[in-house]
Symmetry: C2
């Protein structure tokens, strides 16, 4: 007898839920000002684009839109890589895609660890069977390019990987110097651009980066769910020469290339609505231009630091290495004593403003305040300063 | 010098695109009636829910909504598994999640192969290092439960995996008989419910299924991008006993459990907007009830087969094993001669109706017509019949 002929035993479950589900309607969600480490607020035009009726993932209309998304992503990454695509999962899957395609079991990899996301890279690379050399730095400080260089020279790795904008500490890493050392040793370079894409100008081709990934919910100000990524011809050649299959079918670049590479042969069903949103978000960035956009991020971060200084917040990161879209601030003693988590709850409940707490060793010591994409505006900085002033008086 | 201090070289790329991006606006997309193998059309209320402003993935409001989604998924799967969750990627990643968590290198697995998606399971399992035994069947026919049973007895596999509703052939598989043989041999059972969830009543607990996954864009009539999945306590115990780490960090159940399992500790950023949509889609199913919904699917499929019979379309699958939400039809000679692909293009361009072609050996021989979720209505069946009548006269 076929499975579908069996009577549902689920009606009592449904009955048990009657009434329950009515209580929580998406329409009743209270809006938030999202000043944490992501997601950031999404422009109404992007939400509107996302809510357009669905078309099929092989519909010529959709494929044209996908072409446009890929074309708009390339200059944002600063690359001419044909293989530039929105991966169908969040930024962490983008990290996994880069590492599992470029690494084979036994390969050496050098990872710059300047926080949580560098740590995550080590974990992902180990699961791919790679021999991982970690080069660490104190939280809040940039990677030491010469320490990275030494590790590269010593281990002659297949891949060097690090995070451009460490979202756990607010540090911007010295990309060019590390990439140059890696290229000199013949290694491929993987760069995490989750928090930097759309907030800082990227020049991956000029920097010599072979694979990079981002997320949609940071400086692109789109909903989370996609990971824009790009792979150099050198990276693709490496994938073609692999002796073992890529361990992930879902993230296998050769298979993804059948759909995203031009032939548009079905691999998996692309997240159509999310790509509508991404297209509209990228158009907004294109219209603004990266020069203005970077300036807007820097102005907002400077105003934030200046405005919170009188309350005793001190930047964790030195000026030269500070990210403009994600500011980490050491908390004043008074807030640590009162309990920083309860103050964040108050901000959320009373002012509907979300800010981020510290991760790992920095938990309880710092806040992470994101002024990303649409949110990198003085009016939002003022809202936060006023709320804190009111609470701390 | 920090990477972000480098001048953008991307302005000329942006300039080169000026004007181009204006040409394709999401708002200008022509709506489609999606009668292919998925995606199906999404109800305006679901699109509206998706377009609500973003809140954070750790916001209590969002966590409450996530609780609701998990609570509504359980009866739909016919399970009480606490670990029932929307995975943050499409259905194919759901397949990968089930197999890479339950299989370790060297493990034996028996896969029922009744079409493209059974084949995909073999590929995914092989990439996890498993020893795969394939049990095949002719396209358009169900798996032979006793052949599956023999392979299970012979190989004593760790896992038995097959597809409930084979989207490439339109066949419904005999779930209970196969699951029973697998359980008797002590194997875990993985079931692909991508096309069945929300169209057929599922009873995973009663059937003895340990892991199952679906997609949002079929009978749930939500946008693609999430994979609802469920794991039995037996499956979780197996994961806890693994000797090797799960090869995917993104899909590692133990890590996912930190967020989706109740503690709500950050793992990756959940695709918030997609979960808004899923919540609203699940409420609609809940309000309709699965009994009515199944009936609606069966009536629509019957009307389709009856309406197209005079034009020479013949069902590929025998009545007893036919899926209600996805009908595969052998094409009349006249259409094969004229070129079935060009007729599908005509349907799309002239009537804005999408239907699916055959996959693999069935390409050019059959059409796959989906009447899924919102689309399982006589009015849509009539639209297709009228369009074809007009074109074939």
């Amino acid at each position: 007898m076929d499975g579908y002929r069996t009577k549902p035993r689920s009606s009592e479950h449904f009955d048990g839920l009657r009434g329950y589900h009515r209580g929580i309607m998406a329409a009743a969600l209270k809006p938030r000002l999202l000043l944490g480490p992501g997601p950031s607020n999404v422009h109404p035009r992007v939400l509107e684009a996302m809510a357009q009726p669905l078309v099929g993932h092989l519909d010529p209309q959709f494929l044209e839109l996908l072409d446009e998304v890929q074309a708009l992503l390339r200059p944002l990454f600063g690359t001419e890589n044909p293989m530039t695509l929105p991966l169908s999962a969040t930024g962490s899957a983008g990290m996994e895609a880069c590492l599992v395609n470029l690494l084979e079991p036994g390969d050496a990899v050098v990872v710059g660890v300047a926080g949580v996301f560098g740590n995550r890279m080590c974990d992902v690379a180990q699961r791919a069977g790679a021999r991982v050399t970690r080069v660490e730095t104190e939280p809040g400080t940039p990677l030491d390019a010469s320490a990275m260089g030494d590790a590269i020279d010593r281990t002659q790795p297949r891949v060097v990987a690090f995070v451009h904008a460490e979202t756990s500490t607010g540090v911007c890493q010295p990309v060019e110097e590390i990439a140059e050392r890696a290229r000199r040793a013949g290694a491929l370079v993987v760069l995490d651009c989750v928090t930097s894409l759309g907030g800082l100008p990227l020049n991956l081709d000029a920097w010599g980066i072979d694979a990079a990934y981002s997320g949609t919910q940071k400086c692109l100000s789109c909903p989370p769910g996609l990971s824009p990524a790009t792979f150099s011809p050198r990276a693709l050649a490496r994938v073609a020469e692999r002796e073992t299959p890529v361990q992930s079918w879902y993230l296998d670049l050769a298979l993804l290339g059948n759909y995203f590479g031009g032939n548009r042969v079905y691999h998996h069903t692309a997240p159509i609505s999310a790509i509508y949103a991404l297209a509209e978000g990228l158009r907004r960035i294109h219209d603004e231009g990266m020069e203005l956009r970077e300036q807007r991020h820097r102005q907002a971060a400077d105003a934030l630091i200046e405005g919170l200084a009188p309350m005793g917040f001190r930047p964790l990161v030195e000026n030269d290495h500070r990210l403009p879209m994600l500011t980490t601030l050491r908390l004043p003693e008074a807030i640590i004593e009162r309990g920083e988590a309860s103050l964040r709850t108050t901000l959320l409940e009373r002012y509907s403003i979300e800010v981020g707490g510290g991760l790992g060793d920095l938990a309880g010591q710092i806040w992470r305040i994101g002024l990303m994409g649409e949110n990198a505006r003085l009016i939002h900085v003022e809202a936060l300063i006023n709320a804190l002033r009111h609470e701390l008086q």
